[in-house]
Amino acid sequence: MMQIDCPYCGPRAQVEFAYERTLDSIVTLDMPAEEAVSRLYARANPRGLDDELWRHSFGCRQWLVLRRHRVSHAIVSITEYAP
């Protein structure tokens, strides 16, 4: 179980957090339909670092961006989400 260093709450166990999606699969409301569908179904899924949107659901409930290595699970950075 990963340990996630919430910028608001400090280091907490992964069970307190909910994974939402990668940043590049966020479908904005003004996006053309074709691009929206492509973002939903064609994921980059890199073997390496990726930016992910998480929420501290059982804590401060803030939305966070984790830059995380998808093989080693190393978390390079955690920041509050800013669209």
């Binding site: 179980m1 990963m2 340990q3 166990a13 992964q14 909910a18 939402e20 966020i26 479908v27 904005t28 409301l29 996006m31 053309p32 339909a33 929206a36 569908v37 939903l40 949107l53 929420r55 659901s57 409930r61 939305w63 093989v71 080693s72 699970h73 190393a74 989400y81 669209p83």
Partner: protein, 903 residues
């Protein structure tokens, strides 16, 4: 005298225990294996497939053979390693996998299992007619197996505990103690874990967990440690748990997990009396047990020579040392170089002789014990679990820990500080009786067969032969298997590959994983605000997620169905009240509240007048219906959004995502109020009059809003109907809602009505054709599939609008919502087919009887269903043996025009 025995002298054997019904004595500190050997018992088990007699091979948790069932009743623990079980007074253990007894086992005597159980035996039975598998399965199940799990409930308590430290040291041997001392000296907080009862030293300032196994090493320095407070089968101290599972977060981890000695491969290498060389030393040094009187030692390394010294010092005779190498260290014992064991012969509790190849010839030795050493396998399990790489060491013929992505290091034997060995290719004259995986009865010939049948990948070979898949996970067998595979394939061992190490390191009791979260504590129970009011009426409770809601309120000996039908009929003819408190409720407030709701809701919201509400539904981004509910404009910039009970938490996250990620520029506040307000729906033709009398207020028309007071409590009244009758949802603050319920209940009963539960609610809504998220809205249905497309907001701009443009979602043959009628009960969940054997065209999502009148109605999802009204189909549920002829109709069976709840 032959066979294992206690070395004379020493402490008194004060503990009494029973094995297979016979009482024996043991010394405090004995493991069951040591105690049995001390009592001359060398044969303790029968093997998994072939029921071969087996003894004690090891002295630690890697033991593959000596598995017993320990304890009685609900405290029974099967497949317990006799080497990992300390004897306590009154211990009861029995041997496994034998019938009628360990000495006289029909499975072994007949030898009938063998031809069926070679490599891939169960895969092969899958070919050919199914009836043949049914026959084999019965046979295989009886023939092959381990201990039986108890059927009685486990009476013991278990607990979880969390901890953190700077350094977690796994293993209390010399290397572990040294690492812990160093860390303490550096001022670090240390937890030291040891599987055995006692440590070989003590350290000030260290949290010591003995009898504790580091069972898993996960991400970011997270470890799970299983601590035994009592031995398997033993009654815990009152008020204390039997086991404790630690969740430890460590800044860094030191693995001092040691190494496991490997057996050698030869015919009869599984007999009682064949024991690992270091295990022989352990029994002598730790337990004063001499595992044999006349010992042959077979080795490919120097370490086993120390075993010869230990045996001689304990009074045993070293008959011969068979060294596979050209030369070994100097010793006064008789040594045969270029010598390997070929086969053994045995008696019940020990060996009789060992046949060996010595140079070009063969020799037979009279011996009751064969101590074997095939080299040492560093215990890299935890390192590997934590994502660490493994490096091959040619001199050790073993994998050692390589780089780790985490702060995990290995020390001592675990790091490869073990004696070097000579790589030998075993020539096996009798591969059918040369065991590689002892616990799963996989022989060298099984591996050869799998290879001959084309299995090349070690992962395939593992699954095909079941090698390494027993409760010991191949601790003693993996390297022998890889070596055999490599030699057959003509490659090196690292080229042959390695299977994955997975947690737990040793078997874990399910109770330990559950901790205190068992029985009634398996999930938290969420009680509605009016729980006490309902409990007074003694309802049947129905769990709904974590919530518990009244299902029906039977009177006297009424059945559930009769009670629900009475309640539903009251709603159709007079009035009824139902608790709807668990509906998700969100206060959406602010100047941009309407704009925000139009992102979340797929229906129009902005044009809603103050004091009015409407039905709405929300989509996922892929265009599927996610949830439905109602939206009400309470004031100019204040809305109330309701959605389904089961989807409340999901909707909370969805709304937060929509606000904070998709539309953070909107000035809106969203507050989840599910538990803040209790809700009571009053439904039925008399509901308007009842409520007007209670409040002294004229009630609004359908989908209107009113503020009033009932029993002095301020309430919000929403004129919404789920049942199909005129109805009002009445919301009050949860802690004030009791008197509101009381007043409504009295008035409803006075009008000839009743409180009603979820069952009646289902009858009513199915008849009315209202969908439920989770039944009709199953996550695969679009608004069009559910006949909701006319309500979609044309301008778009809502979540899911893009997803809906996918062409496949417009296909005419999609499963669509239909109604189904029948004269006989329609089985819920049944498949919809044209006739028996025809392809499945859909399924029944919800079914009920008509509330008034006879016959059954149901909702279903049917391929191209909207174009099939009038078709006659079969609703068939073969698993329940139920079916009904059904006619496809529109999905509404009652008051199609909706006049009963409008004016």
């Amino acid at each position: 005298m032959s066979g294992p025995s206690r070395i004379p002298g020493g402490a008194e054997s004060t503990l009494r225990f029973r094995f297979d019904g016979v009482e024996y004595r043991a010394r405090p500190g004995d493991t069951l294996a040591a105690a049995l050997l001390a009592n001359g018992v060398g044969r303790v088990a029968r093997s998994f497939k072939y029921h071969r007699p087996r003894g004690v091979m090891a002295a630690g948790v890697e033991e593959p053979n000596a598995l017993v069932t320990v304890g009685v009743g609900g405290r029974t623990e099967p497949n317990t390693r006799a080497t990992d079980l300390y004897v306590y007074d009154g211990l009861v253990a029995v041997s496994q996998n034998r019938w009628p007894s360990l000495a006289f086992d029909l499975g072994a005597i007949n030898g009938i299992a063998a031809p069926f159980l070679a490599a891939g035996f169960y895969y092969k039975t899958f070919f050919g007619p199914a009836s043949r598998w049914m026959l084999y399965e019965k046979f295989i199940r009886r023939a092959a197996g381990m201990g039986k799990a108890p059927t009685a409930p486990d009476p013991d308590a278990y607990e979880h505990r969390a901890a953190f430290c700077d350094v977690l040291v796994v293993g209390g041997g010399a290397a572990g103690i040294a690492a812990a001392r160093k860390a303490v000296a550096a001022g670090e907080r240390v937890i030291l874990v040891e599987q055995q009862r006692a440590l070989s030293g003590s350290i000030e300032g260290v949290r010591m967990l003995t009898r504790t196994t580091a069972s898993g090493l996960w991400d970011h320095g997270f470890a799970t440690l299983a601590e035994r407070l009592v031995e398997p089968g033993q009654t815990p101290t009152p008020g204390q748990p039997a086991q404790r599972l630690w969740h430890v977060r460590a800044t860094r981890i030191v693995l001092a997990t040691g190494a496991i000695e490997r057996p050698l491969t030869f015919a009869g290498n599984d007999r009682p009396g064949v024991m690992l060389s270091q295990a022989v030393r352990s029994y002598i040094a730790r337990f004063d047990v001499l595992p044999g009187e006349r010992v042959v030692i077979a080795t490919n390394n120097d370490d086993a020579y120390a075993t010869a010294d230990a045996i001689a010092a304990a009074g045993g005779e070293v008959v011969a040392i068979l060294d596979s190498r050209a030369s070994g260290p100097a010793t006064h014992f008789p040594v045969f170089t270029d010598a390997v064991p070929l086969s053994t012969s045995g008696q019940t509790h020990h060996l009789a002789s060992v046949k060996a190849r010595v140079g070009a010839g063969t020799r037979r030795f009279d011996a009751d014990l064969l101590a074997v050493s095939g080299g040492f396998t560093p215990v890299v399990h935890l390192h590997s679990q934590a994502g660490g790489k493994l490096d091959w060491r040619e001199d050790l013929q073993a994998f050692v820990p390589g780089a780790s992505p985490q702060a995990v290091s290995s020390v001592g034997a675990a790091a490869g500080e073990v004696p070097a060995i000579a790589a030998t290719v075993a020539v096996l004259p009798d591969p059918k009786h040369s065991f590689i995986d002892f616990q799963n009865d996989v022989t060298a010939s099984d591996l050869d067969l799998a290879w001959a049948e084309g299995y090349r990948s070690v992962e395939h070979l593992k699954r095909y032969t079941t090698l390494g898949m027993a409760t010991d996970q191949g601790k003693t067998s993996n390297m022998a298997a890889l070596a055999h595979l490599a030699s057959v394939a003509g490659v090196t061992i690292p080229q042959a590959g390695l299977t994955t190490f997975r947690p737990p390191f040793t078997p874990l009791t399910l109770g330990a994983l559950a901790g205190a979260d068992g029985g009634g504590h398996a999930a938290p129970a969420r009680r509605i605000a009016l729980y006490d009011r309902h409990q007074r009426l003694n309802p049947l409770w129905q769990p709904l997620g974590l919530w518990h809601r009244p299902r029906a309120y039977p009177i006297g000996d009424e059945t559930l169905h009769a009670a629900a039908l009475r309640e539903a009929r009251a709603v159709r003819t007079t009035a009824g009240i139902v608790d709807v408190s668990t509906l998700a409720k969100f206060a959406v407030t602010g100047p941009d509240a309407a704009a925000f709701l139009e992102i979340v809701c797929a229906t129009g919201v902005a044009k809603l007048a103050v004091g009015r509400g409407r039905y709405t539904f929300m989509l996922r981004e892929d265009g599927m219906v996610m949830d439905d509910g109602t939206v009400w404009r309470i004031a100019e910039t204040r809305y109330l959004l309701t959605s389904s009970t089961g989807g409340a938490d999901r909707m909370e996250a969805h709304l937060s995502y929509a606000h904070h990620v998709l539309a953070p520029q909107l000035k809106v506040s969203v507050v989840a109020q599910q538990e803040h307000f209790a809700g009571i729906a009053l439904a039925g033709p008399l509901s308007r009059e009842i409520l007007a009398a209670l409040t002294g207020t004229e009630m609004p028309a359908h989908m209107g809003v009113a503020q009033a007071a009932i029993a002095g409590v301020p309430v919000l009244i929403l004129a919404a109907s789920y049942s199909g009758e005129r109805a009002f949802e009445i919301y009050a603050e949860g802690h004030l809602a009791g008197p509101v319920w009381d007043a409504l209940e009295v008035a409803t009963r006075a009008a000839g009505g009743y409180p009603y539960g979820l069952e009646a609610l289902e009858f009513l809504r199915i008849e009315k054709g209202h969908i439920v998220i989770g039944a009709e809205g199953d996550g695969r249905t679009t608004p069009h599939d559910l006949s909701l497309e006319k309500m979609l907001r044309k301008a778009g701009g809502f979540i899911g609008a893009s997803g809906l443009t996918r062409p496949a979602l417009a296909a005419a043959d999609r499963a669509q919502l239909v109604g189904l009628t029948s004269d006989t009960p329609i089985p819920e969940g049944a498949m919809l087919i044209a006739h028996d054997g025809a392809p499945v065209e859909g399924h029944v999502t919800s079914a009920a009887g008509r509330v008034i009148g006879t016959g059954a109605v149901a909702l279903g999802l049917l391929g191209g269903g909207r174009a099939r009204l009038g078709d006659v189909l079969l609703a068939s549920s073969p698993t329940r043996g139920q079916s009904a002829r059904v006619t496809v109709t529109a999905p509404v069976f009652y008051d199609v025009e909706g006049t009963r709840y409008r004016e």
